[in-house]
């Protein structure tokens, strides 16, 4: 047994995140870890990597108990981890990020920059990345940063590799490359923990899978005899399940809407990302933007809502030609924007009700803002989006990722939404939460809102879009409607 943890418990200011969880990891196996949002996966993994300190329980490695609570210690034991939230130091170069804390030293213990850059280039090449390793990390796109993060973990660890949702930002080829690397490590007898919401992926590469429910261990099973349904059933504690399973087959997209478009975008351009993009979307219609991460569809969503400034382009909004809006103008127009980056969407230190009422204080609350009024408005809203727990006074920062996303969505429901723009709306969400969130979106659409979903998850778009634009490197390669499409077809155009 490579690593055993017994009876791990952890609570955050009174809220129990893990209760008496035991886990055994073997050398030479890939161990899957699944569970709904907030089940405690990340918490457990952070304990193993030393990121969290005060927990109860024991951890033994090679039958020897080890003291945890310091990432430094964990690394010394050969444990490395890719965290769910991107870390890395944005202002430093890629090479340095790769060797974060372990720069190669040359004569007199001085850092040998030349060697470091060369080693970084060589190592990145083995994971299929070729780039300028001296450029600051922050100048790269999300998927590249994720790959660098993974590479860093592979470089740093020696015995146990923990990957918390590593694939959520990767494009299919990158994912394949990752899986090959993991298989290779497994061959070499290393231990690997793989956390993901993509059950197929887990079943595909893992030998055993552990399922967490509400901070408790449900079961650890070999994957050979498991089906996706069984896992989801266990994971959601028996709650019913009927979602995007059908997406394995082709779906029929409806014909183009005949309603007058709510919004028409004319030759939008953002230097180096995309250019000359035109599109339109009608009320009650849902337009999907598909592309691999970095194709530019996400930035497009940002530009449309004013979150990012486009270099050129204008839009027709209800037959009026106007320049692209700044965010507060967009909010006034009824454009609601849910960004993928949760860190930029919530105010973590503030209570849920304040986060919920933020966008529509004027219409929903009026001149005098009192907690009583706000809670009266926010409580039903939290119920409606299915936030767990639906406590308006809880700090939003203490919710699990999926629930934070529900709060983000909930904040737009206080006023009429005319155009809902979603960027990776379900990134990092469990199947159940995903369904709940997308149901809300569908609701809004049925009430006459136009919806624009930018995502790199084909299943999501096939299930929820009426029409799909496929982007590749900043150019629209295909518009799909009134036809049958499946995942493969979609990915072919991207």
């Amino acid at each position: 047994m490579l690593l055993t943890c017994e009876n791990i418990s952890k609570s955050y200011s009174g809220v129990e995140a893990l209760r008496q969880v035991s886990l055994q990891l073997r050398a030479g196996e890939i161990h899957g870890l699944v569970g709904a949002n907030g089940a405690g996966k990340s918490t457990l993994m952070k304990i193993l990597s030393g990121a969290l300190s005060d927990f109860k329980g024991t951890i033994t490695m090679d039958e020897e108990p080890i003291l945890m609570g310091d990432p430094h210690e964990a690394l010394a034991h050969g444990i490395a981890m890719v965290y769910q939230e991107l870390s890395g130091v944005g202002k430093l170069g890629v090479a340095e990020n790769l060797f974060l804390g372990r720069q190669p030293q040359g004569r007199f213990g001085f850092i040998d920059w030349k060697m470091m850059n060369r080693q970084a280039r060589e190592f990145l090449a083995t994971v299929g990345l070729e780039l300028d390793v001296t450029r600051p990390l922050e100048s790269f796109s999300l998927s590249i940063r994720q790959m660098i993060e993974i590479a860093r973990c592979l470089q740093a660890g020696s015995r146990l590799f923990i990957l918390d949702e590593p694939t959520s930002a990767l494009s299919p080829p990158e994912k394949e490359r990752l899986f090959q690397l993991l298989a290779q490590l497994k061959e070499e007898g290393k231990g690997i923990v793989f956390v993901s919401h993509f059950i197929e992926e887990v079943l595909e590469i893992c030998d055993r899978v552990t399922i967490l429910v509400d901070g408790r261990l449900r079961s650890t099973l070999p994957t050979a005899e498991l089906s996706k349904h069984e896992v989801i059933h266990e994971m959601l504690d028996g709650k019913d399940m009927s979602t995007e399973e059908a997406m394995e087959e082709a779906v029929q997209l409806p014909p183009k809407s005949h309603e007058k478009p709510l919004l028409q975008l004319h030759s939008l351009g953002l230097k180096g990302v995309f250019e000359n993009i035109s599109l339109e979307v009608s009320p009650g219609e849902s337009l999907g933007l598909y592309g691999f991460v970095g194709a530019g569809h996400q930035e497009l969503a940002h530009c449309l809502c004013g979150s990012q400034k486009a270099d050129e382009g204008e839009l027709t909004w209800q037959n009026q030609l106007i320049p692209l809006p700044v965010p507060h103008r967009a909010v006034q127009m009824g454009i609601a924007f849910v960004a993928a980056d949760r860190a930029a969407s919530i105010v973590p230190k503030e209570e849920n009700f304040k986060n919920i009422t933020l966008a529509h204080l004027d219409t929903a609350i009026g001149h005098w803002v009192t907690p009583a009024k706000e809670i009266a408005v926010a409580a039903p809203c939290l119920e409606k989006v299915g936030c767990q727990p639906p406590d308006p006074r809880r700090k939003t920062g203490s919710l699990s990722g999926g629930n934070q996303q529900k709060v983000v969505l909930g904040k737009w429901l206080l006023d009429e939404v005319r155009l809902l723009v979603l960027e990776e709306p379900t990134r990092g969400m469990d199947v159940g939460a995903k369904r709940e969130v997308m149901e809300l979106v569908r609701d809004l659409k049925n009430k006459g809102a136009a919806v624009l979903i930018a995502s790199s998850e084909p299943e999501l778009l096939l299930a929820h879009a009426d029409r799909i634009l496929v982007l590749r490197r900043g150019v629209v390669t295909r518009e799909l409607f009134d036809c049958r499409v499946d995942k493969a077809e979609l990915m072919r155009h991207a």
């Binding site: 979150s307 006034q332 930029a344 204080l361 803002v369 009192t370």
Partner: protein
């Protein structure tokens, strides 16, 4: 955990500054003679007024995660402008601004006095506005914009006064800052309490019960999230810095009233004191946490410390500053530790 205990924990952060204040009062009452006295209490209130006014504006600025290092010199600039303006009206001003009273002493008309009082506050507002606009436009930290503005204000104040002291001002200022209503025979409630009280109350209401106030907290809590939710964060920052400039101007006038003179050499420690007050009250330097209640307690705690040290006779005259620093440090650490309790 009982709900009582939980409530206590929940409010630990808010209670910590109060505890600090009480500890300080207790300390000085026990270890000095003469401190625990209604007279002292009244002079604490008088001395707190300038800091309270300036700290009010600073609270807005810190809440939205900016800082204003120019407050002290803006206060000085406003005071100097007031002094120079008053003298100008007395000496050469137009008739409408001056009025000869029968006893020959009061020679500035009501219009003149208002002008003398309002213009400096507007100057403060203007400097604050400039701070805000430059900060938002240049995207540089307010720390360095207001640092430069501090030097500019200092220069302007020297230029206006040419180094002279201006002992004359509308009588209402020294009166407000130095006198008060006697409640009973020995306790004097200074008029300045009403000014500060009104200002603090208004600020509290704005911050707690208006949309703008909420936007201030959200801008400080996560600027990007607030922006994406349609808050004009740039506008919020500009307004907060403008408010801070205005209160700095007002504080400068109050201090000039207290000292009964205006000149460039006053308010030398005001910046650090005002920041210490706000932070001692528990408002975060990184935005989004704290409020006027905290500032009020912080100002009182700091002023008790300041006044109380004057009564401490068993400390070497030269070590007094050190003791001030030590007690301040202790108070801040106490504050910090108490606030942590809640999180555990």
């Amino acid at each position: 955990m009982s709900s009582y205990k939980s409530a206590l924990r929940h409010h630990a952060r808010d209670l910590a500054p109060l505890a600090t204040l009480l500890v300080l009062i207790l300390f000085f009452s026990v270890f000095t003679s003469g401190f625990f006295d209604l007279y002292t209490f009244s002079s604490v209130l008088k001395q707190a007024s300038t800091r309270a006014i300036v700290a009010t504006g600073l609270t807005f600025v810190l809440l939205c995660a900016e800082i204003d290092l120019s407050v002290a010199l803006v206060a000085t600039l406003a005071a100097c402008q007031m002094g120079v303006l008053y003298k100008w009206i007395l000496d050469t001003g137009p008739a409408v601004l001056s009025a000869a009273a029968p006893d020959g002493t009061f020679t500035v008309s009501l219009a003149g006095a208002l002008l003398v009082l309002i213009l400096p506050v507007l100057t403060g507002l203007f400097v604050g506005l400039l701070n805000g606009l430059l900060t938002v436009w240049s995207r540089l930290p307010s720390f360095i914009i207001t640092l430069a503005m501090m030097e500019i204000a200092r220069g302007l104040a020297s230029y206006l006064t040419k180094g002279a002291q201006y002992p004359d001002m509308p009588g209402v200022l020294p009166k407000a800052a130095n006198e008060g209503i006697f409640l009973g025979s020995s306790f004097e409630l200074p008029y300045s309490v009403f000014v500060c009280g009104g200002l603090l109350l208004a600020a509290h209401i704005v911050l707690t019960y208006t949309r703008f106030g909420r936007y201030v907290y959200m801008t400080g809590g996560n600027r990007e999230a607030a922006r994406l939710a349609g808050v004009r964060t740039g506008f919020v920052v500009v307004v907060c810095l403008a408010i801070c400039g205005m209160t700095a101007g007002l504080g400068g006038l109050m201090n000039a009233g207290w000292l009964n003179s205006a000149g460039v050499n006053q308010n030398q420690h005001l910046l650090l004191e005002a920041i210490a007050c706000v932070v001692l009250g528990g408002t975060s330097l990184f935005g989004g946490e704290g409020g006027i209640k905290n500032t009020l307690i912080g100002v009182l705690a700091f002023t008790v410390l300041d006044v109380g040290l004057g009564y401490v006779t068993w400390v070497d005259e030269f070590l007094r500053r050190s003791v001030m620093g030590l007690v301040l440090l202790a108070a801040l650490l106490l504050n910090g530790q108490l606030a942590k309790i809640r999180q555990d």
